[in-house]
Symmetry: C2
Subunit: 137 residues, 2 copies
């Protein structure tokens, strides 16, 4: 499977911000069963800066439907969160999302509230400048 | 958009179990923005029995990837949960899932734990007998 189109963008943005990429990709032990093999297709990037350790799920949100892409990202985040806690308990998981996407989601009242309630960590990046725009914890 | 292939199956199963279908479909106010219009394509069924009121998200899980289908169902459930709480605070949301699907997900250690942690309500149905097999709260 082709890497996410903003995979390199997010790596560059992290490096500009002083992070060292320590794993690309990180493959979590999710399942050995064939029926779940698609799990293995999506991988995380790990980065470190001083004592901070983060794992990043990178999403481009370029699919047919923004909501469908978001549901997918959300489901993966929640499953990865559980898997990461087992294998790498001291790493924090972030969902990397283009600034435009975050803005669109936030422009809707219900979705903005939904984002707030989910308690995910977001890394919002500027796709043109290839820079980190905002960390949301 | 075509209704979910098990839409009627779940309705029949509920009726056999003594439920009255009170809304089919229930359209929640999710968003008026065109970009989120796909939200409107998926609808809930509402049913009542004595004083119990439930809203059901029906999923067939017949897509290419079980996990992708599950992520989608999960994301929708969480968003619907929020919307339902606002408009119909005394209704409980259930995700209707074929027994085969639930069994496959449960057969994987990590996914079984994941299902447990999510705190969703499931209505597991038998696709052949068109009956409710299990309520999971």
């Amino acid at each position: 499977m082709a890497k996410d189109i903003f995979h390199e963008t997010v790596k560059i943005a992290l490096q500009k911000d002083g992070w060292t990429i320590t794993a690309d990709p990180l493959t979590l032990k999710l399942s050995k069963r064939k029926i779940f093999i698609d799990l293995a297709a999506e991988k995380l990037v790990m980065a470190q800066k001083n004592n901070q350790k983060i794992a990043i799920e990178i999403k481009s949100f370029v699919g047919f439907s923004l909501l469908t892409d978001f549901y997918h990202a959300l489901g993966q985040y929640q499953l990865y969160f559980l898997a990461l806690k087992k294998e790498y308990p001291d790493w924090t998981l972030y969902l990397a999302m283009p600034a435009e996407t975050y803005q669109i989601l936030q422009s809707d009242d219900l979705l903005a509230e939904f984002l707030g309630e989910l308690q995910l960590h977001y890394l919002i990046f500027d796709t043109t400048k290839q820079e980190i725009k905002q960390w949301i914890n």
